[in-house]
């Protein structure tokens, strides 16, 4: 019977994922005790490591680097086969030869965020002091911490100025943090489907997800690895709830309606009678195979804390004062997680800061996830923005 207890079968790729946490298949930058990451919570994290992927070639004057910032549960595997799931990269439609982020023109870098579980130091990583996973002993990280770690990685790679910083959702928050914290290092910025602060509703959804994880009897206060288990039910439920927020009513209706799964009549049970139910259960269980439960707690928390105006006496425009970066802000009509009104508030602040900003709202019923899906109008705008910015930057082919 397909009840909630059987929605996840975490054993399949758990070993692969566990290996990736400390020994990623991608490139890794290791920072020693003398190069600590100064976290907002007051902790100096050292040693630590950042796992990253690159695509394309860095040009001679190092002016074509694009930093890709990934969303909550994604990682550095933008445009290559994922080492755990075996699936294509999460943004192959955007990044690659001839794509809007043309790897024949740009040098694209994507790093797994600090607190993640695909090779950058996070709660699943081995704590050098104990030899065991950090678990809840890992310090709480913020979006500014993630960006600070990325800046250290770029220093390591010898890249002073980024041609563009691109990202959606949590990635978009990092884009905004980059422009606020290092305006002189960012020539152009493409924040997508994001906001300058996480709303109360968004925090509420994240709390629901965290409570689901922590209510799982297999969670063991974050020490599940030592008990040789995983809070897979709680994490799957968290993912199911989050996944609904990434879609829209219209998209769910178009995809599933009230159609039944492999049956004509209801079973009068709690089986997944409806297609939408079995879809969500699949989303939940496949997520458990590739993601760490504690990492989910930490990264959702980082988004919750994000409020760019808070550091500037609540005046958003102050965060971007005198900024030279060229912006293109994009939102989607059916995104109710990061609605257009939030992007508009950002644009007003940028305008008030006299920044060179474009803003487009893309019409789609695909919801928040639209930025990861095939939305030609979005690709056209991204391509046009990057090309005009490239021209201003003096990049060939711009």
């Amino acid at each position: 019977m397909a009840d909630v207890q059987s929605i996840a079968s975490p054993a399949i790729q758990a070993e692969d994922r566990a290996h990736e946490v400390d020994h990623p298949t991608s490139q890794v930058a290791k920072f020693g005790l003398n190069e600590p990451l100064k976290l907002d919570c007051g902790v100096d994290l050292a040693p630590f490591q950042i796992a990253y992927q690159t695509y394309g070639e860095l040009n001679a004057d190092r002016s074509n680097a694009v930093l890709m910032c990934h969303a909550l549960t994604l990682d550095q595997h933008v445009a290559n086969i994922h080492p755990v799931t075996g699936k294509p990269g999460w943004w192959e439609s955007m990044v690659g030869p001839g794509r809007p982020l043309d790897t024949n023109q740009y040098f694209v870098i994507c790093a797994n965020v600090i607190g993640g579980c695909m090779g950058s130091t996070g709660p699943a990583s081995t704590n050098p002091a104990t030899g065991k996973p950090w678990g809840l002993e890992f310090p709480v990280v913020t979006i500014p911490d993630m960006v600070r770690a990325q800046a250290m990685l770029l220093d390591r790679l010898g890249i002073d100025t980024l041609f563009c910083v691109v990202g959606g959702s949590m990635g978009g928050m990092q884009v905004l943090q980059w422009t606020a914290a290092y305006p002189e290092r960012v020539f152009s910025a493409l924040p997508i489907a994001c906001s300058t602060r996480h709303s109360a509703q968004n925090i509420a959804f994240h709390e629901l997800g965290r409570q689901a994880v922590m209510a799982d009897p297999n969670w063991y206060q974050g020490r599940y690895t030592e008990h040789d288990t995983l809070p897979h039910r709680g994490l799957a439920v968290a993912r199911m709830a989050a996944h609904i927020t990434y879609l829209s009513d219209a998209a769910l209706h178009r995809k599933f309606g009230r159609r039944m799964q492999d049956r004509e009549l209801p079973t009068f049970s709690f089986d997944a009678d409806f297609q939408v139910e079995s879809y969500l259960r699949y989303q939940g269980s496949s997520f458990v195979e590739r993601f760490d439960a504690n990492s989910y707690l930490y990264l959702t928390r980082a988004m919750d804390y994000f409020d760019i105006a808070a550091d500037h006496d609540g005046v958003l425009a102050q965060a971007f004062r005198g900024i030279k970066t060229r912006f293109c802000v994009v939102s989607f009509t059916s995104d109710w997680l990061f609605p257009t009104s939030e992007s508009r508030a950002l644009v007003h602040a940028l305008n008030a800061s006299s920044a060179r900003v474009s803003f487009a709202e893309i019409e789609t019923d695909k919801g928040h996830d639209a930025f990861l899906l095939d939305v030609p109008e979005f690709f056209d705008i991204s391509r046009a923005f990057l090309q005009s910015a490239g021209k201003a930057r003096g990049l060939p082919g711009g």
Binding site: V347, R356, V357, S358, S388
Partner: protein, 222 residues
């Protein structure tokens, strides 16, 4: 009436590559000093902004329609989706050298407030609008007895976005009322040619199909 000078500032405007620019756009662009910073309110497809940028002017745009914004961004222009009636309040004082309102005044809900905002945000404002005092308009209402429709304003009265039509005379009165200085005023005929300058004022109001005005804040105490 406060029209002191009526020059035709088309000289100095380098010929464009295609020669396709609308004559009112070329006229407006000629009023803007190269190197300045300009906000085009209601920038449509961005044709005017493109012309301005080709002259080394730092241009920004606001456009209501999503389609217009997307076309502008695709052209590499810095344009945001927004509404002149509600969004101008968010712009700080003196943010731009010029604020342009091209063929948009008649579609705003509060033309007077919009005009005041233009001159608060910009040191100068350039406003162009269709002249409802144009003889064809008068004739249609007088003889035909129906709301006028022209090639440039083809919408019927019940489905037009234009809600506040005015004549050149009305606009000049509004400028007087809010204490705006008119630096330049040009009326364009049906073919986009300037109405001869030596003709009396009522001729403009009769034979100008559109008016183009360069405005600045009246100096206090004068």
């Amino acid at each position: 009436m406060a029209v002191q000078e009526q020059t035709l500032p088309l000289e100095g405007l380098s010929p464009d590559r295609t020669g396709n620019y609308r004559s009112d756009h070329r006229l407006v662009a000629g009023m803007v000093k190269p190197g300045s910073k300009v906000l085009d309110v209601g920038c449509g497809d961005g044709d005017l902004l493109q012309l301005l940028e080709s002259r080394g002017i730092d241009g920004r745009g606001i456009e209501l329609s999503r389609e217009g914004v997307n076309r502008c961004v695709a052209k590499g222009l810095a344009v945001v989706q927004g509404d002149a009636d509600t969004d101008l309040v968010n712009y700080p004082d003196d943010a731009f050298d010029y604020v342009i309102l091209s063929q948009t005044l008649q579609a705003t809900r509060q033309p007077k407030v919009v005009l005041e905002n233009l001159l608060r945000i910009g040191h100068r404002a350039i406003v162009s609008f269709p002249n409802f005092g144009f003889w064809k308009m008068r004739l249609q209402l007088l003889v035909g007895g129906h709301m006028p429709r022209t090639e440039n304003l083809p919408a019927t009265w019940y489905d037009t976005a234009n809600i506040h039509f005015c004549t050149i005379k009305d606009f000049v009165q509004l400028c007087d009322e809010i204490g705006v200085k008119m630096e330049r005023a040009v009326a364009l005929d049906t073919f986009g040619r300037p109405v001869p300058l030596n003709l009396p004022w009522w001729v403009w109001n009769m034979f100008g199909e559109q008016g183009v005005f360069l405005l600045s804040r009246a100096e206090k105490g004068k």
